[in-house]
């Protein structure tokens, strides 16, 4: 997978939830009434701010495979998609969701995004044991299933 040659911007989407106040009479053992929970997470699959991310692109393929691998492992990496509903189901109120974009290459003109884009791909992808993920898809070096 060589994602750096793809001529488009890819963005990870950050949902962020902030339930400001829990006005509940439930007997709480772990969170005080009025307490907060904050979650910051990435959400797969990779998305683009425009139509530059084609369906047949290597990045899209990699993203889909990674999501599939984590789903097979029982810990899907699109869990953030459901946080809001799950938080509300658990009883949290005033759940707030803020989305941020993470550039995946160093081309943004904006200085901060340029730094993020320079740093995000290698840190996200290259050093976190991708091999383990690949195994959960049934990939190995002999049978390169669809990787």
């Amino acid at each position: 997978v060589n994602i750096f040659s793809n001529p488009f911007f890819g963005y990870s989407v950050f949902p962020r939830y902030t339930p400001p106040k829990t006005q509940t009479l439930t007997i709480s053992s772990n969170l005080t009434p009025g307490g907060f929970i904050e979650l910051a997470d990435i959400c797969f699959p990779v998305q683009a701010i425009d139509d530059s991310l084609r369906n047949d692109s290597q990045l899209r393929k990699w993203s889909d495979l990674l999501l599939e691998a984590t789903q097979k492992a029982g810990r899907p990496m699109d869990s953030a998609r459901y946080y809001q509903a799950q938080l509300e189901a658990a009883g949290f109120i005033k759940v707030e969701k803020i989305q941020y974009k993470w550039p995946q290459n160093p081309w943004p003109k904006d200085k901060d995004n340029k730094i993020l884009g320079t740093r995000a791909p290698p840190q996200m992808l290259l050093s976190s044991g991708l091999q383990a993920w690949s195994f959960s898809l049934g990939c190995d070096q002999a049978h390169n299933r669809k990787c």
């Binding site: 772990n30 005080t32 904050e38 953030a80 946080y83 050093s127 976190s128």
Partner: protein, 523 residues
Amino acid sequence: VDQVSSSFFHEYLCSQDCRVFASSAVILMRFSTSFQNHEKKKCSTVTWSGIQKALEQALSDVLILLDCCSSGIGDAGEGNGVTELMSACAFDAIANGVGHYSFTKALTIELRLLSKKRSFPVVELYTHIYCRAQYHMAQGIDNERYPAPIHLLLTQDDNFPRSIQLFILEPDSKTIANPIPEPSSYEPHAADPTNYKHRLSPEPLETSQKRAYLDWRPDSQPEADYSITPYSADPQSNTDQTSSAADKDSSADSLPLGLVRTTNAPRLLFAVRLEDNIRAEDLSPEYFVDWLRMIPTIAKEVKIEAGFECNSTLLLVSIPLWLNSYLSHNPAVISLGPVKSSNLLALSYKHEKLVIKRKEPKPLPEVFDDETLGSDGSKIYNYIYENGRRYHSYKAGRYMFPNDEAEAERLDLQHMLFRKTFGDKLYLSPVNKTKHTEIHRVLDVGTGSGIWAIEFADENPQAQVLGIDLSPIQPTWVPPNLTFEVDDLEAPWVFQDKFDFIYSRMMTGSFRDWPQFFANSFK
């Protein structure tokens, strides 16, 4: 004294008359042993062994209180009912002298205190006396000694195993109207046969309660009457006893189970040396089954305090103090003395961020099947290496990312990216804006290298921060208001205190059941 007591025993224990107070009897004896040693004169002595044997064979339950050494006579195999003995020290020790620390003094005080209860078992009295007798620090007085009082079960009733239960005799008009001349408070007036007979005569069997009493008087409390009875025979058995009767079949014998629930009671710590070298992970309840069977207690009361390697394996075990006399002797068991808390040094590890579990102590059989015995930290550092990457060992395989140096660097870089994304903020929730939303207890879920928790703790000195992760890869040099613990947040949460801010970052791919995590957070 010998003559008086012998005649008393002869008259009351061996004659038919003793059926009048058939259920039980208390024999209170006091021998001034401390004075004998100074003058080398020949003192009159009591031949105790014969008396004790007679008492063991008495028809009633007998509680013997000795303010001297016990003579160490065992069960003669005969007798009816229970014979229990409490003495100031063991037979091979030197009894304490007369003073604030004497056995009788402790007995007096504790009986007075316990008299507020409706009834209490002998072992409870013993536990209290033990605490009081051991309470004093040596003050350098001559002949000052603090031997541990002992409690022995001389004979046990096989049909109905029990401990003698003491209760207060309700003040009776006849009793009060019948004052007994009592020259000295500790005179064994039980040895005054006429006195006893006189006291007993108005009572027997008229009330259809077979109970005997002994008007034993602590010096400052002239009207307090104490009597004893086996608690089965007590028709007014209190709720404590009825509830304990329900538990009875779950216990190995019928010890007063009310005491089992007594908290803060001193425990006896002893070392058990095992034959083999047993690694912590190999320890299993089977090693202790035989041994446990010999202790008439529920396994819950036996606590493993620590384990060491010492050519073989040495375990520190504690049991309630009152079980001492029921414990069988074994050369592998080394008594260490009484303790009143769990291992204090182990608690201090908490502050060194090496805590593996902060769960409540578990009953014995469970102690060995969990990772708990690795609380010295060895097990959690037993990392797993695969494909050149290092992975966590506590609940191995749960988290799919490595935990090595490269991963810690990735997490720190990731932290930088998040800070940059959020405008250099550590969090976005509207906390710490006003006094009202100031946060004091923070949970960092999946703290990783701990960098977020460290920076948060630095910025918020008022908050106590707890960072949880499966991997103990956090630095040890951290702000004082920050603690790291190795734990699994997919297991049930057992935190002592509530949090007012739970922070979870980059945990996607970590939890199997997010709704459960939110439920744990919310409840």
